[in-house]
Symmetry: C2
Amino acid sequence: MKQGTRTNTVIDAIQRKINSRALKPGEKLPSIRGFAATMQVSPSTVVEAYDRLAADGTIYARRGAGFYVAPLIQPFAVAKVGPELDRAVDPFWVSRQSLDAATDALKPGCGWLPADWMPHNQMRQALRSVGRAEDALLADYGSTKGADNLRRLLARQFIDEGLNTGPDQILLTPSGTQAIDLICRFLLRPGDTVLVDDPCYFNFQALLRAHQVNFVTVPYGKNGPDVDQFEQALIQHKPSLYITNSALHNPTGATLSPQVAHKILNLATTHDMVIIEDDIFAAFEPAPSPRLVAMDGLDRVIRVGSFSKTLSASVRCGYIVARPDWIEALVDLQVATNFGGPSPLAAELIYSVLSSGSYRKHMEALRSRLDTCRSEVAAKLAALGIEPWLMPRGGFYLWCSLPGGVDSADLAKAALAGSMVLAPGNVFSVPQSMGGFMRFNVSQMQDPQVCETLERVLRTVRSGIG
Amino acid sequence: MKQGTRTNTVIDAIQRKINSRALKPGEKLPSIRGFAATMQVSPSTVVEAYDRLAADGTIYARRGAGFYVAPLIQPFAVAKVGPELDRAVDPFWVSRQSLDAATDALKPGCGWLPADWMPHNQMRQALRSVGRAEDALLADYGSTKGADNLRRLLARQFIDEGLNTGPDQILLTPSGTQAIDLICRFLLRPGDTVLVDDPCYFNFQALLRAHQVNFVTVPYGKNGPDVDQFEQALIQHKPSLYITNSALHNPTGATLSPQVAHKILNLATTHDMVIIEDDIFAAFEPAPSPRLVAMDGLDRVIRVGSFSKTLSASVRCGYIVARPDWIEALVDLQVATNFGGPSPLAAELIYSVLSSGSYRKHMEALRSRLDTCRSEVAAKLAALGIEPWLMPRGGFYLWCSLPGGVDSADLAKAALAGSMVLAPGNVFSVPQSMGGFMRFNVSQMQDPQVCETLERVLRTVRSGIG
């Protein structure tokens, strides 16, 4: 056995003891001589192993007193729970790059509209109006389910999508991501299996890793997930949850067909699986597409959404629509973990914008602006050999294949050096099968510098391949 | 063996199979005859056991097809994780009563100031000012750590409390409760042990139960926790975390003395325990009291806080101050579970109020108003035989003993019938040792109806005892 292998064997043995809590935080590790004897290796191998465990923070040395398990064995570094991903395609890295990017950075990889595309007139009007509201709205926690007026307005909107429900089945949350997180806390336990699309929204992965679940994936086609593989996955892996976007799937922009929706829902029923349908992009559709939640009638499908893409990501508010008994349990869980729902002020601002007469017009204009923009950007990308996988019916994403041989992670790394944040395909892929794809946000590509930078970076990366 | 005992044995056996996942969600239970044979009981005992498991939702019957494990084995009913508490002293029930109370309900049990005591002029001014802000503030997600200006202002404030830190060690969160929740997700695993004070803020219990930890408690005295019992608890139970309020402890209003603080911190260091110091009431102190976080210098003590008590619970924002490496990991975790920090709009409103020239004056006036109010309420309560355990240096709570023999849960139940929400002692007590105490919020007792209702209800409950 080679020296490196022996060291790894010792590292693995210690790591297993720590994982199984045979060695607890703060406990002293076996002495170097003693453990060398146990493992039948030389003391220097154990020293090497302990030093490497100390370097990554798993254990630490006390001067003159030996090695100890670090105070917090596994302070929860979420990224470490999954397989070691290439840093360039680590979902956290991409989120943080786009959220923390300089104001003048180019961001075709980000997941939101430019600030000046948002309904800021309506929002400013709403701010003036809440400035005259009663003290309680500005000062109090608000009710546990969140503002009545916004929940009633949402219930009315859902009727258009074929979902009949009352405001009592709607729980407001501080964000759409927190809506999903709250449901996961309610439904999942470490070690459970969750089904996601390949590709899927990258933060589903990050969030689910925080719940320490196992993944099973099914390829997402132009009409939804591959039904045969979906069934096989349910039979073989018995996932307890499937999470997806039906309306304008992220990142592909595809739309679920009625046939696929019907089959998926039957399979979920047969195999007793819950579905979270995250329809955060629903308002960008020209007309509502088939919804699992509407077919199901809120039995095993939970709908979540938010206003961050259409209205404001600064005034944050999300929601959950679910069975009454689940809503009651989720209220308790939200009281425990947030002492209530979203900011009443935020909910009032959202309500005020949504109910303003000009909001519908704003959204119509926005959809048509995106249609034009999507065609223009698709043409510019085509000139670079970058082809959309499909032309979505709405929204701001184009999921594109790169010209032969270019790895999207390489392209993203190179782009970052040019102050441009891209969203490479494997960020969206649990099995890392999307290296040849890239998600573009067409609304963030009006600046000619974006395509210029892209062309330059593409040339550099391709010359590296050639 | 009695019939009831046999039924329980069968119930326990099934429950163990479900807990260990030998029986998975959706799986069929053993047939009644078969399981009766296995368990050496009569089929009717198994029928009785299955019916009771079905009644509490653990399993369900499919018509003509037998019994199945419920789709979601343990949808997370937080309250069920702990011991069965008297419903009147269930922390969720109290939170929900006070949050969802009618606007005209009397709420001496709630944990916040009346809306018209809050700095609403400053808030209205701030709202007008953000209405003129740039689009990005109204539309974008904001950076992952939260607004720079607010973090810088907090870092400057902390210097007054003896805590030298930079804005990079401050992470803004959507609320103070979420700050604690995020840290718990980072530090704790199911089955870990957490130390809390007896009594302690009731939502610590609710929140920690959501993390499925075990509790160990130490009596809280007039200068902080009992040091000897604290040491014993650390030796015997090896808790990984202690969570407390040092400045104006909730519910007692007590203040940690420098001697106790020093000893506690030494014990935490010796036994390698992390401390969360939740100083949400700090701004109500006449002068800063000793802080564990300041003594420790952000090694193993984490400070959390929020603005919900002093500024607004509608415009919510909390914060975490911790070691730089922990902050980085917490940023990842917050991106995963909330895609960013608090609402940038909320952070800007908070910043704007805190930095306004009149805020300091508002707080001075508020502290003095509370001092007067506290004395007046204490006198009124004394007339009813209700005595404060101590007179706090600040804040709005009075932790009081009830006249002989009255159980505070009985009083709270009776008060609720009179539309008054009280906070009975055992809500704050993991070992349920505080039945003779009640927490009063003096700011919510200006209305003479409060003491009138209290007197009437007290009379009724005492006559029941006599």
